[in-house]
């Protein structure tokens, strides 16, 4: 009986301390949710870059639509897209646009993106842009890891279940890819491993 009582007390204590540790994390947690698709584009030399498609949850979409769909016609015209880019996209440039690339283990900083577009369709917002990232193909495999995450974890980014990544103009190369958690990267005080596209390619022999 005594052992059971001590066991119960110890269990309560562990639970109590666990609660304290959990309660101590006061930073942001996901409030915005993105489903993404990557479109990996090759040119004659090798990798040219990748297109990014972010589909936002309807709540964030409605927030942006309320503020920036000026004429409230449920679509974003070029002038409105420019405002969205300025007020609800460009700020993340300091976080490398949430895109963290490693080329053969070396970090590649995303300093700029091009062809930004914001689309509002059926109340759902999506961002589309291209990240230039030139990597020449050789006989040996080049390893690329593309992890897309918000390091502050205010935004949770998931790969789409259907067609999460596509390859364009890849016929001249041997390409292997997989989507899995990047165990070498941890965010949010080391508690979360972001999902990443692991890509390797080489010239066809």
């Amino acid at each position: 009986m005594h052992m059971i009582r001590v066991g119960k007390q110890a269990l309560c204590l562990v639970l109590f301390l666990n609660v304290l540790c959990m309660g101590s994390n006061v930073t942001a947690h996901p409030h915005v949710f993105i489903t993404q698709r990557l479109n990996v584009v090759f040119d004659n030399q090798g990798l040219a870059g990748f297109g990014v498609e972010w589909h936002f949850d309807e709540m964030f979409s409605s927030m942006i639509a309320t503020d920036y769909d000026q004429n409230q016609n449920s679509t974003l015209e070029p002038a409105e897209v420019a405002v969205v880019k300025d007020k609800a996209f460009s700020y993340i440039a300091v976080y490398n646009y949430f895109i963290f690339v490693k080329i053969d283990g070396q970090s590649f900083k995303v300093k700029w993106v091009k062809d930004f577009n914001a689309v509002l369709k059926n109340g759902k917002l999506s961002y589309h842009f291209f990240v230039p990232c030139h990597v020449k193909a050789h006989e040996l495999f080049k390893q690329i890891v593309i992890a897309v995450y918000d390091p502050s974890y205010y935004t949770a980014i998931f790969f789409a279940q259907k067609r999460p990544a596509l390859v364009e103009n890849g016929d001249r190369f041997v390409i292997e890819s997989s989507i899995k958690k990047d165990k070498s990267t941890s965010i949010y005080f080391g508690m979360v491993n972001p999902w990443a596209l692991f890509l390797k390619f080489r010239l066809t022999s």
Partner: protein, 296 residues
């Protein structure tokens, strides 16, 4: 051994608490203040629970949006009951993740010796104020002032954070000074130490608008469903109240059990209780000041 274990745990908890940075801001719509707080850190402790919470929240978020749309399109109240249940579940899970004043609530409860009912009221009030604040600010900004939500809300949130963190710092300093006074006077630990003013303390912690409630409100407002938005905001708040209250109850019970384990040591139990009170007061004050410094 037990005492050493307890003290080590207490120290670990303090260190973990002190190392946490500021409340998050929407990185898409808020001008970045400092990049350092957003940098990834090295692995510390994997927590699959957090990833699961994010996934569940994503699913519930989608479900809620679908049901709100269904309610709008069909113009019926048929999906309402299910929608409120989903909103409640969203609140429960949302508050299970980090944030929402739980760190302050836990520290504050640790520094007191509240009756269980008062502690539960305190937990409920925090969540309700947190949610109501979101509802009220959205209504004021969107309907009364008719201003741009994203920028104005960031500013409103910042102001409420400054007020809240200032008051929390004062509260923590008050607890700390009182506790130090006790040490100096070598007074015996009071066993009639109850939670004072759970309503006001909860208001101080919960006045910062909950972003999840804000976003649900905005979705409903975009479909001109103000009443539904308010109901959903309240349901989410009730869900959050359940989680935060469970947490508070666990802390109260945990503290009571820890002290009971040491009760036979008499004087030592009193010393430990005073030590917990001092440390918790220091934690409340430090967190308040740290967060205040970060938002100013």
């Amino acid at each position: 051994m037990r005492i050493t274990f307890l003290l080590l745990c207490l120290l670990t908890v303090c260190i973990v608490v002190m190392l946490q940075p500021v409340f998050g801001q929407n990185p898409f719509t808020a001008k970045p203040k400092s990049k350092t707080q957003h940098m990834a850190t090295h692995p510390a402790a994997k927590n699959p629970f957090l990833s699961m919470i994010a996934l569940w929240q994503h699913r519930l978020n989608q479900k809620m949006a679908d049901l709100v749309r269904e309610a709008k399109v069909t113009n019926t109240v048929k999906p309402l009951a299910f929608l409120l249940v989903v909103a409640f579940a969203y609140g429960v899970i949302h508050a299970a993740g980090p944030g929402h004043g739980k760190a302050f609530a836990v520290s504050y409860i640790l520094s007191q010796r509240p009756r269980l009912l008062l502690g539960m009221l305190f937990g409920n009030f925090i969540a309700l104020f947190h949610g109501l604040s979101g509802i009220i600010f959205v209504l004021i900004i969107h309907i009364v002032l008719q201003k741009n939500i994203t920028g104005t809300l960031e500013e409103v949130t910042r102001i409420t954070q400054i007020i809240s963190f200032s008051l929390i710092s004062c509260l923590g300093l008050g607890i700390l000074i009182k506790s130090i006074y006790k040490w100096i006077k070598s007074a015996k630990g009071s066993h009639k130490h109850h939670l004072h003013g759970p309503f006001l303390s909860a208001l101080v912690v919960g006045m910062i608008p909950c972003p999840a409630v804000v976003m649900v409100m905005l979705l409903a407002l975009s479909m001109k469903l103000v009443g539904l938005g308010i109901m959903l905001g309240i349901s989410i708040s009730i869900g959050m109240a359940l989680t935060i209250t469970c947490l508070v109850v666990m802390v109260i019970s945990g503290k009571a059990i820890s002290l009971k384990m040491l009760a036979k040591h008499g004087r030592l139990a009193i010393t430990l209780e005073n030590l917990i009170e001092t440390t918790a007061g220091l934690m409340v004050a430090s967190m308040g000041l740290l967060f205040l410094a970060a938002v100013i």
